[in-house]
Each structure stands twice: as structure tokens, then as C-alpha cells.
């Protein structure tokens, strides 16, 4: 059984007991435990079930690479699935549940899959779920959905209780990884005077070197680490963060650091995770190496563990995964595990070494009384929910002549793979190291930065060297090289001297035994989480998958949440063998960030709740909110769709506003309309290029409606332009268009006509603008003026249609434009934004006797549609030209040039078959569905009805008592009176008559009074 040892445990504090729960059972651990070590201490070997076959699984690793021990952590609004028990620090009150089983972990219905495994080979889903097609939606999809997903998604009603943030950081050198290599690299880089940041994913500095033993400068490794950490902490130019993982390395020295601030103390004030957005001149990756499993039958049974992990559990947490252990290896390093276990009082039955010769560590093991079996292999591990016995055989051969040994844990080591993720994320290339049987960074092909030079250096075991002495020398050199590349001069210092027992060469062992028969290969796991076995990869190769990327997707090898940290090298070695190729030729799959999964919320950072997205507010926003506003998003603006009164539906409110504005007086908050000042001696010439119509001839004091096209000829914006003085114009844009059109103007001024004397300023938000609309519009303004004892003359004579004046309206400094988007008598009045609310209040107050009501954007739309006025974004969609909308009158024939003019002469633009704007009226008075397509005679090549047009705007007009619409119809203006069919998505076909788009007051008498 797995149990807590009486001694060992350098990271735990035995005086501080911690209570936690697993699947509802209360358990005890110590401060400093991980959830995994605490579960092992409680003899909880089995921690979850695998994804495909629901096989019992225990912890196999001790860190970020763990594929099996995934749990759901926390409760309610702090529940989170798929968390690795090995990287979860234990705290009092931690609650955890295991995953992927029903009804419970011990007894699971889904585990029947393991008995069906011969029917669930690689590519099963592709083969099984392809025929017959009618099954796709109602049989296969529900089945696949049912079995998809590992942990349980958090309850949707429980919003995450925590907060998250980003932080932008800039440094000369960033060192990723706080083991001895990272610490040493950081120290020598910092000694040069460079600004250094050092990040470490765990809570502890020193990495795994203190566990592996040896000495540095004749002192124990722990002591060296302690000293280095205090030296670094004392340096002003060094920033150190533990619990902060290097998540990804990106172009131009951009690195994401994922800091877990309160995961180990939930509910603490402040953000839970902080995403560091780091810019570094140089990046040193000191990310260590990960031990590889060995591929033998039953290597997934709980109790089979990486040799290094077993060592970690003993040394770091004082826990042994078993009482009687067998060690299987192809290298000397695993002997350390045997020795440490033995010294801790655990029985080590055998060391099964696939090689025939081992180094001095083997002698040490023998001296401790451990039996060493050279040239041997594990044929099979027996046991269901935990290891019961092991069958041993010769490494050479197919696995016959087995010897059975009873035991309860197996330590395995297939050699070490450098963690090359950070090196590879941004394009660093790898080379195959035959001696160590691993890929390591190729220093001649690093990721390239903005200057075209390498910006990442690998240090320590992530660069290949595995022996302590080599690791320190390599890291020392990398730190100095990084400082130099960042523009500093490294001090001439000696690298610390690390000493460990020398090791004999390892031997590549990709399968145990070397020619294992199929029965064994079908139980030899490569990818524990996704249940990919040696036989699956071999099958993929037989079925023609030669590319490692294709094999990955076909078998799902390395596609689980651990992204194949344990399985990828073993898997591609099996693939290379099956293809009769070499490992470096097969190559690796792409290493993509993040290194381990990071919380989505940390990526979102502060962007949640009320700051999820900016919501732009006009000066009268709060008034609208208090007065029944039903909000409509327009870009980032919020505009009132309608002001809904108690007891009224939104539709009722819109109809009331529509009628009242035509009959009495309506107020619209038009502050969101863009307002651009264009000034200079060449401003007129410039606006003549920007607009399709002539703006240079506009008289001071007058307004003109203008159209803007892109160089491609398509409509991009419209609005009223007012000439303010001899060289100043004010251009209104659409609500969504202010920034875009401002940018458009600046682009042409800065990049094409930079010698033209024109300045543009965006003054959109300087003003609150109110449209005062309806037959009583003039009366309310006159009343305000009368109340204040004077003001602007707003009579027809003094302020005619399409003119503007500056002056006082009541007590307010105002600019009044006689423009109308409704066809009614209308003034758009701009006052300083800081007085917008007061002005609105004054109008509402004075308007009472004239039947004033505020109106929203839907009313605005209906009023303009009744008048046949187009709306950018409704009648236009980026493919519509003014000619399509019958706006020929706004295209200047006098001007030699304007943006879009040349494009309008292209053959397709002048095509008489283009769809053209018309009005549409349903035969029965109903409202046409928005966006519906009109169908004509015949069918297209796909057998679909030919389309001849579409609805662009459609409303119920309370004034006319029927549905009205506009649309673009092929040859529309020539087909007045014809009936066109519009199939709806509701299955009905709507019939509408083509009519003039002006439905109301065709002669425009109402606006010109």
C-alpha cells in the first residue's frame, strides 16, 4: 500500500496537519503536500479513470506532466474540473472529486469499454460513425457528445467568484524555470547589471536537483539553492516569482507568465491568477527535463509510476507508493530511486535493467542488497485497481519464459526528454541526440527576434545535459550569453562545480520486451489520458499514416490535456519503427502554447462583469436608463431602442413614439452621431475627394447631405456636412462611423495627399446632440427662448431647411441644424456635453404642453423608412454602390475625381442587372421578414431557386397601419407593381408588391415648414 513514511519529506511540515476531502471522504495531510502526495499518504492509489476505456488510473508523475490524476477542485462558484493533483498545493478544507466514471470511482459502468478495446482501435470514431448518413445527427452525435469531455463543466448559474488580471512587464532577461539551472543563469545575467525576471511554476526554488542528490561546490544542493535564492532576492535588478509558469513564448520576445496567486489559499483578497505579459530582450528557458515511461503491458495500472516521481514522493513528501517495489529501467538514473527507497526502509525487490551493463550506481544498489537483473524486462504488470504482481522476461525476444514476482508498485524509467516547449513555441528547431535518445534544442537554429537574431537560449537539462555538473556549466554559460545578447557585459566568474555519481550510457528502449507479441502491445500504453497504445500507433502506420501530425490526430496520441508530455517521444519512436524510418526523420509534432492549460479567466483578465467590454454612454445615458430605455448596442454605444412605459410592450412603445413624433413632438438623443471638424486652405478640395458630391461649393451657414464611397466604389458612410466658415467644415458621420471615418480621412491626408493643408479633429463627444422633431418642434424652441428672454430666431425665414446657426437656445449655447431624417419639421441641436442633461431636461419640461415624448432608434428607423431614406448598414452591406440606391443625384458630374468615381465605371458596377432599391408592401399588410430573399424563375446549379433580391429594411408602420419595407431587387425600379415572393425561414412564403420607396409625404412638405 502507499503510505506516509516516518522520515523524509523536505517540503512538508509535519507539525501542521491539513484536512481535505476526496470524493466526500475526509483525509489528512500536511502543509507542503500536493493533493497527489496527500492522497498517496492515505493509500488512495486510484485517482481517476481514463478517457476512452475508463481504466483505473493512479498518479504516474509528480509535476506538470501528470496525465492521470485529474480531479474536480472546489465547490459551487469556485469549482474547477481537470486540475492536476500533482500541481495542486494542499490547504485546509480542499475538496476534490475524481472524474470520468459512473456511478463511482470504484465501480464504473464505462469500464466495460476496456473489455471492448479490441473493437475500439485507432481511428474507431472515423470508421464507425461514417455510415449511414441519417444516423449522424440523431444517433451518433448524441452518443459522441455523451462520451466527450473529461471533467464536469462548472454549473452555469455559479459565476466564478474570483477576479483575474494582466500585468505588462519589461525586462532585459527572462529566465523560465527556477531549478538550479534557472537560478544560476539568473544570477550571472543579473551580475552583468541586466534587469532579470525569474519565474518558477511550483512553489519551490531549486527544481528536482535537491532530490537527485550530489553536491555543488562541495555543499549539499539544498544549501546551494538556499544561498542562491537569498543572493538573488537581495538584488534590486532581479524580480522573482514562484507559482508562475512560463506559458508561452511568442514573436519579438513576448512571453506569457501564468501566476497562480491564491489557488493555494482560496478566498484571499486580490486576484486569483495574474497573466504576466512580458517583453524580454532575451529569454533563457531552464525548464528541465521530463522522464519517459517505458512501454510494457500494464504500464498504466495504479502503482506503476515514473522512477523520478517515486523518488520525489519519498524525498519531498515522505510518501512511498508501495511497500514492495520493482524498478524497471534503461538507464542509471533510476537506480537512485531504488537506493532512496531502500534507504527509506522500503523493500526493493528487483532492478530490471534492459541493458546488460550499468554504472557505479548499480554497485551501490547491490551493496544495499538490491537484486539487479541485467538484460531483463517487464513482460506484464498484473492487477486491476492496483499493482499485484509483475511478470519478468528477457528484454530481447517476444516476452516468453516469464518469472512472476509479487509486488505493489513499479518504478519505470525510459530516459529523459528535455522540456523544449519554450524553445520550440516561436520556431526554435530541435536536433536528435542519439546518445541520450532525445530531442534537444539546436543552438544554431533558435527562435528569431525583431533584429533577426536568436532571442531564446536553453539552459541546463532543458538543453540536453543531464548530469548536475554539466547542467550548472551550461546554465552559467547561457546566463552570461543572454546578458551579452541583451547588451550587457557578463562578469568573468567561474561556474559552480556540481558533482554526482558518474553514469553509464543509457540505451534506447521503446518497447519492453523488444519484440513484444501483440497481446502485450495491446496493453502497452503510450498516452495514458487518451488511451493510446503501442498497437494503435502501429495500426495507424499500417493504414498509411506516415506523417506524425496525421498519426497524432488519427490515434489522438498527445491530444489530451497533458499534450503528450509523457507520450510523444515514445509514440513517435514506435511510429518510426513501424515505418522502418528513423526518429529524427519522423520528427515531433508542433509544440504549442500554453505549456500546461491556463485558466480562460486569466486570458480574459479584467474583462468580465461591468468591464467585459466598454459601453459608450451619451451625457443623457442615465436619464434614458431611468426612463424605461430598452437598450440597443450600436458599435460600443448603447442607444435607446424605445422608452417603454409601465404596462407597455416594446412594440407598443415603438408605435406610440412613431405616432407621437409625427403628430406632436419627439426628442431623440443623437449625440452618438460622429462630428469631424475639417479645416484648412485645402479642406474643400479634400472633402470633394472624400464625398461623392461637391462640398467645396457649400455656402457658409448651409448644410448638405453627403455620401462617402471607398476607392472600390462601395458606400461606406453618409451624413450631413455643414460649412462653418471659409476654411472649416463640420462633417457628421453615422453612429458607428466616427472613429472609422476619422481614420479614413487621416489615412488619405497622411499617406496620399500629405502636402494638402488640412487638419481634422474628432469632436464627436464634445457635444450632446438632440433631434427635436415633429410639428411642435419650433414651438418648444421658441418657448425656451421666451423663458430665457431671447435667443436664436428659429423661424423658417431665419433658419431655413438645410441651414445651421450658432446662438442661444433658451439658456444654452447651441448650434442648431435644420436637418431632418424623419421628414418632419426637425432641428438637431448641439450643446456642450457637460450641459446635455440639463438641455434635455429643459426640452422635456418645456415640451410638456406640446406632447413631448422621447423616442428611440426603432422609431427613428421607422420614420426614415416611411420616407425612403437609406441607412448605412441596412441598405448597404459593403457591396452596395450609390447607383443601386437611386442616389445618382448625389454623384457629382462636375468633379474630375473622388474616391469611388473610377470604380463606378468598372463593368460590374455599371451592370444593368444589379439589384436596385425599391419599396415593398406585402399583399396582406403583414411585415416581411428581415433579410428575406426574393426568388425568381428557375433554379441554380444546386437545385435552389434563383434569387432576385432581398429585404434590407422592414418595419410595421403605425402611421400607415401596415408593414413597409425596402429591398434590393433585380431590375426593381422597372418592375413597379409586380408581386415578388419571399420564402421565410418559418416555412411561409410572403408576397410583396414592388412600390416606390417613399411611403409617406412624397413631396416633402412636412419637413419644409
Amino acid at each position: 500500500m502507499s503510505t506516509r513514511l516516518a522520515n523524509q519529506g523536505r517540503l512538508i511540515d509535519r507539525s501542521k496537519q491539513v484536512t481535505f476531502s476526496f470524493n466526500g471522504t475526509s483525509m489528512q495531510g500536511y502543509e507542503g503536500d500536493t493533493l497527489a502526495s496527500a492522497l498517496l499518504a492515505n493509500d488512495q492509489m486510484m485517482m481517476g479513470r481514463s478517457f476512452k476505456y475508463h481504466r483505473p488510473r493512479g498518479v504516474v508523475a509528480s509535476g506538470a506532466e501528470e496525465p492521470n490524476a485529474l480531479v474536480g477542485l472546489g465547490q459551487g462558484n469556485r469549482f474547477e474540473p481537470n486540475q492536476r493533483a500533482t500541481t495542486t498545493e494542499l490547504f485546509n478544507g480542499l475538496t476534490s472529486i475524481s472524474q470520468n466514471h459512473w456511478p463511482n470511482l470504484e465501480f464504473d459502468i464505462g469500464s466495460i469499454n476496456t473489455h471492448l478495446s479490441r473493437f475500439l482501435p485507432a481511428g474507431f470514431y472515423y470508421k464507425m460513425f461514417i455510415h449511414p448518413k441519417p444516423f449522424w445527427k440523431h444517433v451518433y452525435e448524441p452518443f459522441i457528445r455523451q462520451s466527450a469531455g473529461l471533467g464536469k463543466a462548472p454549473d452555469k448559474d455559479n459565476r466564478d467568484a474570483d477576479t483575474y488580471e494582466h500585468f505588462y512587464h519589461f525586462t532585459d532577461v527572462l529566465v523560465i524555470g527556477g531549478g538550479v539551472a534557472g537560478l544560476q543563469a539568473a544570477k550571472v545575467a543579473a551580475a552583468s547589471g541586466a534587469k532579470v525576471m525569474l519565474i518558477e511554476q511550483t512553489a519551490h526554488w531549486g527544481g528536482r536537483a535537491p532530490v537527485d542528490g550530489g553536491t555543488i561546490n562541495d555543499e549539499p544542493v539544498d544549501k546551494f539553492v538556499e544561498q542562491l535564492v537569498s543572493e538573488l532576492e537581495a538584488m534590486d535588478n532581479v524580480t522573482m516569482r514562484n507559482r508562475c509558469m512560463g506559458a508561452g513564448v511568442y514573436d519579438h520576445g513576448y512571453v506569457l507568465g501564468y501566476e497562480r496567486l491564491t489557488d493555494h489559499k482560496p478566498g484571499t483578497q486580490g486576484p486569483r491568477h495574474r497573466l504576466w505579459r512580458i517583453r524580454a530582450k532575451q529569454v533563457v528557458t531552464a525548464t528541465g527535463a521530463i522522464e519517459r515511461p517505458l512501454s510494457f503491458a500494464g504500464n498504466d495500472v495504479p502503482g506503476v509510476m515514473l522512477a523520478s516521481a517515486m523518488r520525489d514522493y519519498v524525498v519531498n513528501w515522505g510518501v512511498t507508493p508501495g511497500d514492495r517495489v520493482i524498478v524497471a529501467t534503461n538507464n542509471d538514473d533510476a537506480y537512485r530511486t531504488a537506493i532512496i527507497l531502500k534507504q527509506a526502509g522500503v523493500e526493493v525487490l528487483r532492478i530490471v535493467d534492459a541493458r546488460t551493463t550499468a554504472g557505479p550506481l548499480a554497485d551501490e544498489a547491490r551493496q544495499l542488497g538490491i537484486q539487479v537483473d541485467p538484460g531483463k524486462a517487464i513482460a506484464k504488470v498484473k492487477g486491476g485497481k492496483r499493482v499485484k504482481k509483475v511478470e519478468l522476461c528477457n528484454q530481447e525476444g517476444i516476452g516468453g519464459a516469464r518469472e512472476e514476482v509479487e509486488c505493489d508498485a513499479v518504478a519505470m524509467s525510459g530516459g529523459w526528454s528535455p522540456v523544449v516547449h519554450m524553445w520550440s513555441h516561436c520556431g526554435g528547431k530541435l536536433i536528435w541526440d542519439e546518445a541520450q535518445a532525445h530531442f534537444r534544442p539546436d543552438p544554431s537554429r533558435p527562435p528569431l527576434g525583431a533584429d533577426g537574431e536568436g532571442f531564446v537560449l536553453a539552459a541546463g537539462s532543458s538543453n540536453g545535459p543531464l548530469a548536475l555538473g554539466d547542467v550548472l556549466t551550461d546554465a552559467d554559460a547561457a546566463g552570461k550569453a543572454a546578458a551579452k545578447a541583451a547588451g550587457f557585459t557578463a562578469k568573468r566568474t567561474k561556474a559552480p562545480v556540481g558533482e554526482t555519481t558518474a553514469e553509464a550510457p543509457m540505451a534506447a528502449v521503446w518497447l519492453m520486451p523488444a519484440n513484444a507479441e501483440i497481446g502485450l502491445r495491446m496493453k502497452s500504453w503510450l498516452d495514458f489520458q487518451n488511451d493510446v497504445k503501442v498497437s494503435d500507433v502501429q495500426l495507424a502506420a499500417r493504414e498509411g499514416y506516415e506523417s506524425v501530425e496525421h498519426t497524432k490526430r488519427y490515434t489522438t496520441l498527445g491530444m489530451a490535456t497533458d499534450q503528450g508530455k509523457l507520450s510523444n517521444i515514445n509514440g513517435l519512436a514506435i511510429l518510426a519503427d513501424a515505418l522502418d524510418s528513423e526518429i529524427p526523420k519522423v520528427g515531433t509534432t508542433t509544440f504549442r502554447p500554453p505549456y500546461t492549460p491556463i485558466s480562460l479567466a486569466s486570458i480574459g483578465g479584467e474583462a468580465r462583469g461591468e468591464v467585459f467590454q466598454p459601453i459608450r454612454q451619451t451625457p443623457m445615458h442615465n436619464w434614458h436608463d431611468k426612463n424605461g430605455a430598452d437598450w440597443e448596442p450600436v458599435g460600443h454605444w448603447r442607444r435607446t431602442y424605445a422608452y417603454v412605459r409601465p404596462g407597455e410592450s416594446v412594440h407598443d412603445a415603438v408605435n406610440r413614439e412613431v405616432k407621437n413624433t409625427r403628430e406632436n413632438l419627439g426628442l431623440l438623443d443623437a449625440s452618438t452621431l460622429g462630428k469631424l471638424i475639417v479645416k484648412g486652405p485645402d479642406a474643400g478640395k479634400f472633402l470633394d475627394m472624400m464625398y461623392t458630391n461637391m462640398m467645396s461649393t457649400l455656402k457658409v451657414g448651409k448644410c448638405r447631405y453627403g455620401l462617402m464611397c471607398s476607392e472600390n466604389g462601395f458606400l461606406i458612410d453618409d451624413g450631413v456636412v455643414a460649412r462653418i466658415d471659409e476654411d472649416t467644415w463640420l462633417c457628421h458621420t453615422t453612429t458607428g462611423g466616427a472613429e472609422r471615418i476619422h481614420g479614413h480621412m487621416e489615412e488619405w491626408l497622411q499617406t496620399e495627399w500629405w502636402d494638402w493643408k488640412v487638419y481634422v479633429a474628432n469632436v464627436t463627444e464634445q457635444y450632446a446632440q438632440v433631434a427635436v422633431v415633429g410639428p411642435n418642434a419650433r414651438k418648444v424652441l421658441e418657448k425656451l427662448n421666451a423663458q430665457a428672454g431671447g435667443g436664436m430666431d428659429v423661424s423658417k425665414e431665419a433658419l431655413p431647411f438645410m441651414e445651421w446657426r450658432d446662438g442661444k437656445i433658451g439658456a444654452f449655447d447651441a448650434r442648431a441644424y435644420r436637418i431632418s431624417f424623419s421628414g418632419e419639421l426637425s432641428y438637431e441641436i448641439a450643446v456642450p456635453a457637460s450641459q446635455g442633461q440639463a438641455f434635455w431636461d429643459a426640452l422635456m419640461d418645456a415640451g410638456k404642453e406640446f406632447g413631448v415624448m422621447p423616442y428611440g432608434t426603432e422609431c427613428l428607423h421607422i420614420l426614415r423608412a416611411e420616407k425612403g431614406f437609406i441607412m448605412i448598414g441596412d441598405e448597404t452591406d459593403g457591396t452596395v454602390i450609390p447607383q443601386d440606391l437611386g442616389l445618382h443625384w448625389a454623384l457629382s458630374k462636375k468633379k474630375e475625381d473622388y474616391l469611388g468615381k473610377r470604380a463606378h465605371t468598372r463593368s460590374h458596377m455599371a451592370d444593368p442587372d444589379r439589384w436596385k432599391l425599391v419599396g415593398l408592401e406585402t399583399v396582406d399588410g403583414s411585415v416581411l421578414p428581415d433579410g428575406a430573399y426574393a426568388v425568381g424563375e428557375g433554379v441554380n446549379a444546386n437545385g435552389q431557386r434563383n434569387m432576385i433580391g432581398r429585404v434590407t429594411s422592414t418595419y410595421y408602420s403605425a402611421n400607415l397601419g401596415k408593414g413597409i419595407a425596402m429591398g434590393l431587387i433585380k431590375h426593381g425600379p422597372d418592375r413597379m407593381g409586380e408581386i415578388v415572393e419571399f420564402p421565410g425561414t418559418d416555412g411561409k412564403t410572403y408576397k410583396a408588391k414592388i412600390v416606390d420607396p417613399i411611403f409617406y409625404d412624397k413631396d416633402g412638405e412636412k419637413q419644409n415648414v
Binding site: E165, I677, E765, Q835
Partner: protein, 188 residues
Amino acid sequence: MSEPISALNHASFEGIAKVEECGLQGMITLRGDLSDKALAKAVKDATGQKMPGQREAFVEGESGVCWMSSDELLVLVPYAEVDAKLAAMTKTLSGTHSLAVNVSDARAVFRVSGTSAREVLGKIAPVELSAEAFQPGQIRRSRLAQIAGAFWMDDTETFRVVCFRSAADYAFNLLKVAAQPGSEVGIY
């Protein structure tokens, strides 16, 4: 005239830094050739300050001038004086190709102060804010999370932050989240 009201009417919040909406600030956007003597005179007359160089901000209290781009300045004057100052500026600049326009009401201004003020800004702007990299006398136009903004330092622990008025509510809430208690980064 009614009493003018700023976007958030002096709202404030106290966390790892103090966040306050400053109320109304007179502001003039001035575009022109920054090497033109008439522009220099206009700036001097309005603020008493000399022409700022690239990314410089010379601000004292409610008066000052900030370099916004190679042909644009932001001139700060007390809100009550903006009309008079603008009129004087326009007069000085008559005959010089330039654009001077009142944008006081188009903006919101915040003060972020305290020992962690640099960190608050460092959470929302992709800008190096260490004492070596950014100091009083400089202005930076950048991004405040999802909106455009500009900031300068009044002293070593105080920022003034400017954004569009319509985004004031977002900016204030954003600064509040960035300044939430317990969120010190421990860098600056």
C-alpha cells in the same frame, strides 16, 4: 447656462491606489506645425509653458501642454477660461494654417495616486512604467485595456489619465478593478 457636469461628477475609489474623476478640465486640441513660432506663442500665452518636445508633458495643476503627435498638442487650461483662451489662441494663429478646437467636454480625466499607482496603470496599458522608463514630464498615448487613453505623471506617485467622455464609466470601473485591494504586484 446651467452648471456643467463632468461625466462621473467626481466619483472616487480607494484600493491599492486612489482613483478619482477630476471633474471638468479645460482642453484645447491644437494642430499645426509645432516648429511654427505662432504656435509656440499661442501655447505660451495660454499656459505659460514652452513648446513640448516628443512625448513631453508640461503640466501644472489645471494648466499645461502635452505633445500628442508630431502635429498635435493638448492644451490644458482651467475649464472656466477655455472660451477666452481659445479665442485668444485663434487670434494669435490667424494667418497660420492650424486648427484649435475646444474638446473639454469630449473627455474625462482621472487621477490615480499612491505608491502602487504605477502598477495600476501597468495592468491596463502595454507600457513600461518603471521609474527609469516613465517619469513626470512625459506623456504616453496608448490603450487602457479596450479603450484609447493618454496619461502623464503629476508627481512620482500620481498619474492623470485622459479618455473619451463616453468611455468614462468603463475607464473608472477598469481602474477600480486594477486598483482592487490585495492586488499589489510588488514590482514598482
